[in-house]
C-alpha cells in the first residue's frame, strides 16, 4: 500500500505542470557537487541543470543540448531530519495539518531523490525519542518512511526539541549527505546555530520551515486555538486584540527574519512553506537558492 506516497505524487501532478516538475527535477539534479570522472551517459538538458555539464560537442552533433552524467554524481545520500514532536501535530498557516505538510515535503524530496537514484534516510526526534531509518532507494522504503512520520507525530506526543535531533545528527552522521531539515517557525537559538554550523561543515544542509498558523484572528476567524505545547487555550477575545495583533505581527516577522538571517549566515538555504499549494514552488526556490549559495 503506497497511500502516502501516492498522495505525494498526486499533489505533484495537481499542483505542478509537467514543466515545473521537470524543472524541479533539474534543480534537484544540479544541486549536487561531487563529480567523478567516470562518465556515465548523456542525457537531454533540462532547465536548471548546470551549464557546466553541457557536452558542447555532443550538443553540436545532435540538435538538442545534452549534458554529461557521471557515475559518482548519481549516488548521493539524502537525510530527512524531521521534528516528530507535538508541534508538528498542530495546524499550518493554511489550516492544513503541519504533519500532512511535512509528509508532503518529505515525500516530494524523497521522491525526487529516489527517482534520481539517490538513497534516502530518515532521522526524526523530539524531547523523548530519536528514531531513524537507514538509507533506501525504493519507493516502498520511502512509503514506509512517510508512514513512520505519520505514526510518530501526534498531538499527545512528546514536546518538540529539534536541537537534540540535530545534535544527534552531528554525532551520528558520518557519511557526507544532503541533509534536509523539516522544521517549523521556531525561534533561532544559540544551540540551533551551533548544531547547524557543525552539521553544515560536513554536510550540505537545506532548511524547510512548515509555516505555523497565524495566532491572531483576521477576517472573521473567531475560532479558539489551543497551544499544543502548553494545552492553554487562546480565546477569540485575545486573538482579536488590535494592540496585541500589532505586536504579534512585528514580533513574528522579526522571529522569521532572525531564523532566515541565522541560516543565511551559516550558508544554509531555507524556505518557508505555508500550504500544500505552495509546496512545490517553495521547494523549487529552495533548490535554486541552494545551488546559487554554493557558488
Amino acid at each position: 500500500m503506497e497511500r502516502r506516497l501516492r498522495k505525494v505524487k498526486t499533489t505533484m501532478s495537481i499542483h505542478a505542470h509537467r514543466r515545473t516538475l521537470e524543472l524541479l527535477e533539474g534543480e534537484y539534479q544540479s544541486i549536487h557537487h561531487g563529480r567523478s570522472h567516470d562518465f556515465d551517459d548523456l542525457r537531454e538538458y533540462q532547465p536548471g541543470d548546470d551549464v557546466k555539464d553541457i557536452d558542447w560537442k555532443a550538443t553540436a552533433r545532435s540538435h538538442v543540448p545534452l549534458i554529461k552524467r557521471y557515475i559518482a554524481s548519481r549516488q548521493h545520500n539524502v537525510l530527512l531530519v524531521v521534528d516528530s514532536g507535538r508541534n508538528m501535530a498542530a495546524i499550518a498557516e493554511s489550516g492544513e495539518s503541519k504533519r500532512e505538510l511535512a509528509i508532503l515535503v518529505a515525500g516530494l524530496l524523497g521522491y525526487l531523490a529516489t527517482r534520481h537514484g539517490d538513497r534516502v534516510a530518515l532521522l526524526m526526534g523530539d524531547e523523548e525519542r530519536t528514531e531513524s531509518m537507514p538509507e533506501g532507494g525504493s519507493e516502498a522504503h520511502l512509503e514506509r518512511m512517510l508512514r513512520r512520520i505519520d505514526d510518530a507525530v501526534s498531538i499527545d506526543g512528546p514536546l518538540s526539541r529539534l536541537e537534540g535531533v540535530l545534535e544527534h545528527a552531528v554525532r551520528r552522521m558520518r557519511r557526507r549527505s544532503l541533509i534536509v531539515v523539516i522544521a517549523d517557525d521556531l525561534a533561532y537559538t544559540h544551540d540551533l546555530d551551533v548544531h547547524l554550523g557543525r552539521l553544515h561543515t560536513r554536510h550540505e544542509v537545506l532548511w524547510v520551515s512548515i509555516g505555523d498558523a497565524d495566532l491572531m484572528a483576521r477576517a472573521g476567524d473567531h475560532r479558539e486555538l489551543v497551544g499544543v505545547d502548553t494545552g492553554l487555550g487562546l480565546p477569540s477575545f485575545l486573538r482579536r486584540d488590535k494592540g496585541l495583533r500589532r505586536a504579534f505581527d512585528e514580533q513574528s516577522a522579526l522571529r522569521r527574519e532572525r531564523l532566515e538571517a541565522g541560516l543565511r549566515s551559516l550558508g544554509i538555504a531555507s524556505v518557508r512553506i505555508g500550504s500544500s499549494a505552495t509546496a512545490i514552488g517553495g521547494l523549487f526556490r529552495l533548490l535554486e537558492r541552494h545551488r546559487r549559495a554554493r557558488r
Binding site: N87, L225, V228, G243, A247
Partner: protein, 329 residues
C-alpha cells in the same frame, strides 16, 4: 411599605444553584483542549508584553460578566422568592338600603321638603346604596322603589321637593297626594311604617343594612291596621332600623314619647327637630350611626410586590449578554 418574602426558602436554593453553575463553568474549561484548533509555538503570542494586558482585560470582562450573572441570579432568586406585602382594603362605602318614609299630612310638608332636599344632595355622591321612597297619610303610596339609579332618584326627589314647596313647573304638574287619602282617617303612622318596612322587597335574601328615615309627628287620627308598636315590631323582626324625625316635639307629650320608644326599640334613633338640630345635621348623624352597622372587615390581601427587581434582572441579563459578546465567550 412592608415587604416580606413569601417563599424565602427559594432564594438560597437559586443562589446556591447559580454558584454551583458558576463553579462548574469555571472548572470545565480545563478540559478545553479538544475544543480548539491545535497550534504550535504559542509563545509567539504569550511572550509578548502586550499579551499580559490583553489577558488582564479578558479576565476582567469574564469576571465582570460572572459577577453580573451571579447578581442577576441573586436578584432573580429574590423575585422567585416572591417579595410580597400585605394590602388591607377597607371598603368605606356602605351599601345600605334606605327608605324615606314621609308623613305628608299638611303639617309635615316643610320638613318633608327639607329631608328630600338633603337626600337629593346626598344621592349625588352615593355609590352602591339603594334609596326608595314612600309617602303616607291615610294610606301609603310608593313614590319610587328601592333603586340605585341615582339620576332617577335625584329626578324624583327633585320633583317631590318642588311639589311639596309648590314650585312645580307648568309641564310637570302632578298631585303628589294622590292615593294617600283612601284610608279611614289621616296620618296613620303605624300603617305607613309597616308598609315602609315591607318595602325592603327581598327581606330575607339581602344582607344589606336596612334603615328607614321616618318623618312624622305621630299624631294619629283614625283607625290603623297596624299600631305603631306593631309596625315597630315588624321592623325589629326584619332588622330594619327606624330613624324618626319629629318636627313637633313638645317635650313630654305621649305621641313623641311613643315615637322615641319605637325608634330606639328598632336600634334606630329619635330626633326632634328644634333649634338645636337641623335636618342636614340629623341626616349626618343618621349616616354616622348607620356607618357603625356596616360590617365590612378590612380585606387583607397578600400582594406580590417585586418592585423594580424584574427590571434589574432584565438589565443584568442584558449586561451579561453584552459582556459575553464583548469577550467572545
Amino acid at each position: 411599605m412592608d415587604v416580606s418574602l413569601l417563599w424565602p426558602w427559594l432564594l438560597p436554593i437559586v443562589v446556591v444553584a447559580g454558584l454551583a453553575l458558576a463553579i462548574v463553568g469555571l472548572l470545565l474549561p480545563k478540559r478545553r483542549r479538544d475544543r480548539g484548533l491545535p497550534v504550535a509555538h504559542v509563545d509567539r503570542m504569550t511572550a509578548l508584553p502586550a499579551f499580559r494586558g490583553a489577558l488582564a482585560r479578558y479576565r476582567l470582562w469574564i469576571g465582570a460578566a460572572l459577577v453580573a450573572a451571579l447578581a442577576g441570579v441573586a436578584v432573580a432568586g429574590a423575585v422567585a422568592a416572591r417579595p410580597s406585602g400585605v394590602h388591607a382594603n377597607q371598603e368605606d362605602d356602605y351599601k345600605r338600603d334606605i327608605v324615606l318614609c314621609l308623613d305628608v299630612s299638611g303639617s309635615m310638608v316643610d320638613v318633608d321638603a327639607e329631608i328630600l332636599g338633603v337626600y337629593q344632595d346626598i344621592a349625588a355622591s352615593l355609590d352602591g346604596e339603594r334609596i326608595g321612597m314612600r309617602i303616607f297619610d291615610a294610606s301609603s303610596v310608593m313614590a319610587f322603589p328601592l333603586t340605585s339609579d341615582y339620576d332617577y332618584i335625584q329626578e324624583q326627589l327633585g320633583r317631590y321637593v318642588r311639589a311639596l314647596t309648590g314650585t312645580l313647573g307648568p309641564d310637570e304638574q302632578f298631585n303628589y297626594l294622590a292615593g294617600t287619602a283612601s284610608g279611614l282617617g289621616a296620618s296613620l303612622v303605624g300603617d305607613g311604617l309597616a308598609s315602609c318596612v315591607l318595602d325592603f322587597a327581598d327581606l330575607e335574601a339581602s344582607e344589606r343594612p336596612r334603615s328607614i328615615i321616618l318623618a312624622t309627628d305621630n299624631v294619629v287620627n283614625g283607625q290603623q291596621i297596624f299600631t305603631l308598636p306593631q309596625a315597630g315590631q315588624l321592623a325589629v323582626d326584619n332588622e330594619v332600623r327606624v330613624y324618626a324625625i319629629n318636627p313637633f316635639d313638645w317635650g313630654r307629650d305621649m305621641a313623641s314619647q311613643e315615637l322615641r320608644e319605637i325608634a330606639e326599640g328598632t336600634g334606630g334613633a329619635y330626633f326632634s327637630l328644634d333649634f338645636a338640630q337641623t335636618v342636614p345635621q340629623i341626616v349626618d348623624r343618621v349616616n354616622a350611626i348607620e356607618a357603625g352597622y356596616i360590617e365590612t372587615p378590612p380585606q387583607i390581601q397578600v400582594v406580590d410586590r417585586p418592585g423594580a427587581l424584574p427590571l434589574v434582572v432584565l438589565l443584568l441579563v442584558a449586561g451579561v449578554v453584552a459582556m459575553a459578546w464583548r469577550a467572545r465567550l
